[in-house]
Symmetry: C2
Subunit: 349 residues, 2 copies
């Protein structure tokens, strides 16, 4: 029978997060039971708690950037052992049989992947609960190995902000010598800069805010392009090999498309909402492309983590206790974080 | 010195087309002098005559779908001979040295290709004049060979409507077995169907109008999908390998993007104007892409013509005399043509 554990969630959209007792499934043969140690705070946690996108199921126990220690493993688990540091990202299940799953792209599962929270729980019924909790039980396919050399509390946001920016950079084959623009400097953008830099690209931070220039350079940007400066934008016209657009809200894509070389692509990873009108000529006149990209598959998430281990890449984080989560949400909403809050889950006890 | 010849143009945006005397350049060593026999009527001719896009230079002598016979050649012309049937499309010059020109993509010339009409004439100064004329003189690089087996009057629109649809189908490698949707059935769409069919694809005509279903099938569509029928659209969701979007005006791309498989592309070739708001999720949720494509390079235009010769493909045309051009413009504007008017230029004399 499922055991009851302590978690931290929201019962209604307008209720603050508070302590809850929730059920956790017992170990199946392929399951890994993880003691949760660190939780990254993603903007989508806030959207879900506040039901901004509609469809939230309460109580919401957020967090899909989970770092912990393996406490127990099922009889058939092969790739993990007790005591190991592991991660769980945005998904805990998928059909495993559709073409997307077969291509290691579980995030595009044709049956719909199961979100780490607010997904449909196939084991206990109801919906899934995320990382603001003492423990989580996950099929080993969806558990990630965290390289030992990294500062583990700063690895939590790799599981969402990291893979969301890594996946398009990897899929579109960003490489040494490419001129890559990262549009928007937040939780996603700061990882985009680090990855593009480590991949050998010439990285240009593209932002409306001059105040972010020094930070962008400290993170690894080689240049900063102020998007509200028409002269600068004109100087960079038709010169980029790739644009990673991390802007999380509605915006005008046309000025950014003017920066791309012929046949090159801008990938949206942030704005899951209607955008300002795209001008057909922005694409037609130099055979340009706009694409979207959603987090990443489990295989490429592990590849990203291994790359981080090799290049000693982690996120820039600000540590908080779980009791300060509502204040942190307000600060995320007003872009007042560099660049990701991480909860020390020791504070839940 | 330039000679004066008879042409047919508009002197002001609100003036009807009328007879004009204009100058033609004499033969340079690489020039081909062409007696014009047939002129396709493209919607962009009308936009230019009526200054819909702004920037029209008067008098406008329209037409960039020109078929004629070589009357004379310069001393260094190697690829054409007097008496041969040739074509001239949307461009008569480009810088020939930039990366796009070096890649045989003169339409994306970084200096700007020279349009067959209303472009900047490097030889005579002023602006270029198109096909509503007795003759045209063009550098041989921009002259196309017309396969002898084709009905030549029905080849004129291949030079714009043909290459505009061929280029993306070829560039995105549409092949046997692909499920290809052609959105919009007009001058462009009818060629998209013919080409996609000849390339071996399973062709689906996507249209709002049930009235076009039989015509689409006659042209080579294997299925017709009525885009206003939600049930049909749902049945075809996430099933297309490629979408060729020929809609010439502002529209909502989101329903069409829902038809694409993961990682597949919709290419815009018609709507050079701001579109309805694109929803970020339409791209992000299955890593889909929107791209644009502009006519095609000279090399691929010749490849398209050779393909047409091999597969006996021409356009469906309605022949008119030059004196009926204004009536034809009104009919094009109200989509009352199947599928392209072609002017018999014998009527100019």
């Amino acid at each position: 029978m499922p055991t009851t554990i302590k978690a931290y969630g929201a019962e209604f959209s307008d209720a603050p997060l508070k302590e809850l007792e929730i059920k956790r499934r017992e170990l199946n043969p392929k399951d890994v039971k993880i003691k949760i140690e660190y939780c990254g705070v993603c903007h989508s946690d806030i959207h879900t708690v506040r039901n901004d996108w509609g469809g939230s199921k309460y109580p919401v126990v957020p967090c899909h950037e989970i770092i912990g220690t393996v406490e127990a493993i099922g009889d058939d688990v092969k790739d993990f052992k007790v005591g190991q540091t592991v991660g769980v990202g945005c998904m805990v299940d998928s059909c495993r049989t559709c073409p997307s799953c077969q291509d290691d792209l579980e995030q595009y599962c044709e049956q719909g992947s199961v979100g780490t929270y607010n997904g449909n729980d196939k084991h206990l019924g109801g919906h899934t609960f995320g990382g603001y909790s003492q423990q989580i039980v996950v099929d080993e396919h969806f558990v990630l190995n965290i390289p030992e050399n990294l500062d583990i509390k700063a690895t939590a946001p790799l599981l969402c902000a990291g893979i969301t920016t890594w996946s398009p950079l990897s899929h579109w084959n960003v490489k040494r010598g490419d001129k890559v623009g990262v549009v928007g400097l937040g939780g996603l953008g700061h990882m985009g800069i680090k990855f593009a830099n480590a991949l050998g690209a010439h990285v240009v931070m593209i932002t409306r805010s001059k105040d972010k220039a020094q930070d962008a350079k400290d993170l690894g940007a080689h240049e900063v392009l102020i998007s509200t400066d028409d002269k600068q934008m004109q100087e960079h016209a038709n010169s980029f090999d790739f644009l990673l657009n991390t802007i999380p809200v509605k915006h005008d894509m046309n000025p950014y498309l003017g920066l791309l070389k012929r046949d090159k692509t801008m990938v949206l990873v942030g704005a899951i909402e209607p955008l300002e009108p795209l001008h057909g000529a922005s694409l037609i006149l130099n055979r340009k492309r706009v694409a979207g990209s959603l987090i990443g598959g489990i295989k490429e998430t592990q590849e990203m983590l291994d790359f981080c281990g090799k290049h000693n890449i982690t996120c820039d984080v600000e540590m908080i206790n779980i009791q300060n989560i509502n204040e942190a949400y307000d600060r995320v909403t007003s872009s007042d974080v560099k660049y990701r809050f991480v909860i020390d889950m020791e504070s839940l006890k």
